[in-house]
Symmetry: C2
Subunit: 248 residues, 2 copies
């Protein structure tokens, strides 16, 4: 997990790994320069909290590398993950003073942050930013709604299968692997984090993963390394329409 000293911080937007998928995706060279003036990088170690819900938040930003979670906690300690932040995902809300959720780095994390005030001003005069942010927010809303179905109506086994298929699908698009062959990836979450995402207990998560393994739906090597021999089978277990619904 410590490939680099502090993980790669891009020297320049041009070589930034999320250049084409983040809020800045549609920006022209001059707009990038303006963003550059108000931006700074921050690194977090795995386990560190980026912000606590309710804290004053004077920046917004993008995940450059690593994974973070967005969680909500009740007074008695019950917690629910409400978002999984992957590279290019946006954190924070223009026009809001305080953080609405806890943001925690699940792996080592690099963020590209913008001071909030200037970012808001820039957004007002740079349609490209607002347009892209709208698009990303609509995508997140869709993801949240899909997750509502998972939380409200799926069984524990289906929930696990749903989570695995989402992670597998994302990983496949990053690796641009040709379809067909078995998919292989590492789980970026602990059993407890999965439980928080799925509205289950960690014991149930563990049991269902064991069951899927026993039934040959997945193969495990160690606790985290997953192989999926037949993706359609997994989708079936997830209760999803197995049309493979490939949204472009």
């Amino acid at each position: 997990m410590l490939e680099n000293e502090t993980a790669a911080i891009p020297k320049d937007c041009a070589e930034c790994p999320i250049r084409h998928r983040a809020v800045c995706a549609r920006c022209e060279a001059d707009e990038l320069e303006q963003l550059d003036d108000i931006k700074y990088y921050r690194s977090f170690e795995a386990g560190q909290t980026v912000i606590w819900a309710g804290d004053k938040m004077d920046f917004v930003g993008s995940v450059v590398s690593g994974i973070a979670t967005l969680t909500q906690t009740m007074e008695d300690g019950r917690t629910q993950m409400v978002g999984l932040l992957l590279p290019s995902d946006f954190v924070g809300r223009p026009g809001r003073e305080t953080a609405a959720y806890d943001v925690v780095a699940t792996s080592d994390l690099v963020m590209c942050c913008f001071r909030k005030k200037p970012f808001e001003e820039l957004m007002a005069v740079t349609p490209h930013i607002g347009q892209r942010l709208l698009e990303m927010t609509l995508d997140e809303l869709d993801a949240a709604r899909e997750w509502m179905l998972v939380l409200g109506r799926k069984t524990a086994r289906e929930k696990i299968a749903s989570l695995l298929s989402i992670i597998a699908r994302r990983d496949a698009t990053l690796k641009l692997a040709g379809a067909g062959g078995p998919m292989v990836f590492d789980l970026p979450l602990t059993r407890e984090a999965m439980a928080d995402y799925l509205g289950l207990t960690l014991e149930t998560v563990s049991r269902q993963i064991s069951a899927l393994k026993r039934d040959g739906v997945i193969a495990l090597e160690g606790k985290r390394h997953v192989t999926i021999p037949d993706f359609d089978r997994l989708l079936d277990e997830a209760g999803d329409d197995s049309d493979g619904g490939m949204l472009a």
Copy 2:
């Protein structure tokens, strides 16, 4: 339920009840005129389906009056409501061809629709529309995430209390009633629709409502008319921080 022949269709944007809260909220007079050119009203009766998930959708629009639901259904019939559309809420997504969810009128419904293509073009040149839509979408995302906590971690009783408090709060803001006194409103949903929203069965919904009534948290007159003698008590039952969290 049939107060008006077809419910009130505004003659003019100026007298439109959602003028200041819908996508058009920030538009100037000339922008409104342009929207006017591509808009038309549609009315639906309670129970009618506005669109089916997957259908081609050549419009977007706002709820003017009445209530609609956004639901997702699995092949085996399990359904989950993923959104409750109230007056001023926006339906549809610029840039998407087909509907992602079933939209059903729960009460008699009037919508102000815009042909999608021209709306998208107008959006590209009218920042006010995109800005407002972004703001609304961010609000919906927050609501969806709050709902994820309800679905994933709350007990049946807490779920019912959460739903009642949301409806009560909304009703209070519409009526601008001074705080303090008992809150009174009509449930806009059947037990089954509540169950679909809460990820429960209608039997459980019924039982928990009876229990809340028995315990004096709510009072019922008929099946739908609800009185809440002590709103803080209800919030407490919902498991929410009872700081009254009034977000401006």
